[in-house]
């Protein structure tokens, strides 16, 4: 285990060193993601000039949900962004070099990249939560905060699993990148409270592509709109299901890769 941490740290520290060197690059990366988030907020702001509540949710609540969503997504983006490169690696036959080393190839792929731009998402998410939360007049207990930390991590795990699952499709088709992007766009629905969307959409992102567990349910817990314990259990279950499915498909694909060769 210590070995894995050491390896991961080498990659990450090198990446950071390089970034500090290219300070402009660092700043631009972070700023660009900040901007992406802000544009979403802009939409909400402009809309709320004309309405007072969206499906029962106030402006502050909408912004809160939006901000909360950035946390698990940001963590996943920060650490496992390299999964996006998997379709390319498979297509170009570049998995070989990972298979020739005595360490899990998936770990190697993930460790190789540290996506600093995701810090923009985390910063904005944090800021938006900090700004809007006080207006709700809720004081969460220590336990709630800890629970939320866990839920956010579970959320990041779910996000990563969905990404891995769609990326693994590239063992069988050349077009998985497109599928990845499509599924990624579905997560847009989870940026806002899912109840504003028709029931069919809600079912889609709760039971089929469980993005709702990434942030809507945890955020609802923080707003005392959902029961913490039951959400914890459900989220954990969702994570287990999607993660095992993703790893299963990944390993199956890897085995096939070894028998058909590239």
């Amino acid at each position: 285990m210590k070995r894995f941490l050491k390896i991961y740290w080498t990659f990450t520290s090198q990446y950071i060193k390089r970034l500090v060197h290219y300070r402009l690059d660092f700043a631009i990366g972070v700023i660009s993601f900040v901007f992406v988030q802000l544009s979403g907020i802009l939409l909400i702001t402009l809309v709320f000039q004309q309405i007072t509540a969206l499906n029962g949710y106030t402006f502050e609540q909408m912004v809160f949900f939006y901000g909360f969503f950035q946390l698990p997504r940001g963590i996943d983006h920060l650490i496992t962004d390299n999964i996006w490169l998997i379709p390319n690696k498979i297509r170009k036959g570049e998995l070989d070099r990972h298979l020739l080393r005595p360490i899990d190839p998936l770990f190697q792929i993930i460790a190789e990249r540290f996506q600093h731009e995701a810090l923009g998402e985390l910063i904005i998410g944090g800021l938006l939560i900090a700004i809007t939360f006080p207006s709700f007049g809720i004081s969460p207990s220590i336990w709630t905060i800890l629970l939320l930390g866990v839920l956010i991590l579970i959320g990041a795990g779910i996000y990563m699993s969905i990404k891995l699952l769609t990326a693994s499709l590239s063992f069988w088709t050349m077009n998985s990148m497109q599928v990845m992007v499509t599924v990624y766009n579905i997560s847009d629905f989870a940026k806002y409270p899912i109840t504003i969307f028709p029931p069919m959409i809600q079912t889609l992102i709760t039971y089929i592509v469980p993005f709702a567990f990434v942030s809507f349910f945890p955020a609802s817990v923080l707003l005392n709109q959902a029961d913490g314990m039951s959400i914890l259990i459900q989220s954990f279950l969702a994570l287990m299901i999607i993660l095992s499915l993703a790893l299963f498909v990944w390993n199956k694909g890897l085995k096939g890769y070894q028998s058909s060769g590239h």
């Binding site: 004309q50 050349m174 990148m177 969307f197």
Partner: protein, 270 residues
Amino acid sequence: MTLRPYFAFFKAYFLVYLAYRVQVILWFFTNALEIAFAMLLWAAIYASSSATSLYGFTLVDMLLYQLLMTLTYSLTDMNPIDALLDDFNDGKIAMSLIKPVNYELQIFFQNLGANAFRNVVLLLPMLAIIIGSQLLSKAGVVISLMSILIFIVSVIMGLLINYFVKFIFSNLIFYTEASFGLWQLQAIVISLLAGGIVPLHFFPEVIGNILRLLPFAYIQYIPVMSLMGRIGANELSLALWIQLGWVIVLGLAANLVWRHSIKNMKVNGG
């Protein structure tokens, strides 16, 4: 100067995309999903509002706006960075400069070929949807030959503006060796300022006026709004002239930037 070799590039990239037709069809579904998201969101927003129109747009107007914006986005979508980045990394730019073909035009026609194919896949279904769903009549939009002609002219100019802006930006990225984050930033910024996220007239007046001075509004927003009959006759002719102005200005700027890039490359090695 004969344009024949450039049509060859056009055709080549058209065929490349034909080979990847499955990908393009999937891309169509991605677009459909994005539209669906926008529409559902707006439906929820309008449902929560006591008024039937927001900033002068009813829900039907909004839906039509989203569809038309997606359509024009596709019509004007050009991505010179892909070709430039590839060729730059492979050193092909250096090779291309030796050939008796204008590299700038080559890239332009390649992109046009790609653009054309994507539009064949997206355009026809979208037109079918727009016309079939009678959104046009529900929104009270009257289509005449004149309005279609104006739309086409405006879209062509919008495409050129979009291309030049992206082209200039691609060159800047090479200069600063900036990360891909810059490209994404640019995509979002332009999308925002072009009316892709929120119709431009939703912005407060002050900002709206500034936006009217920038070229981005003229890529998609002007063509779409003109087709929807939202621009009065006088304003329309002014808008078209401004579009033309931007085409010329940006075209010259793009050429200047390119020549500077080449010089830079010759000094540093491509």
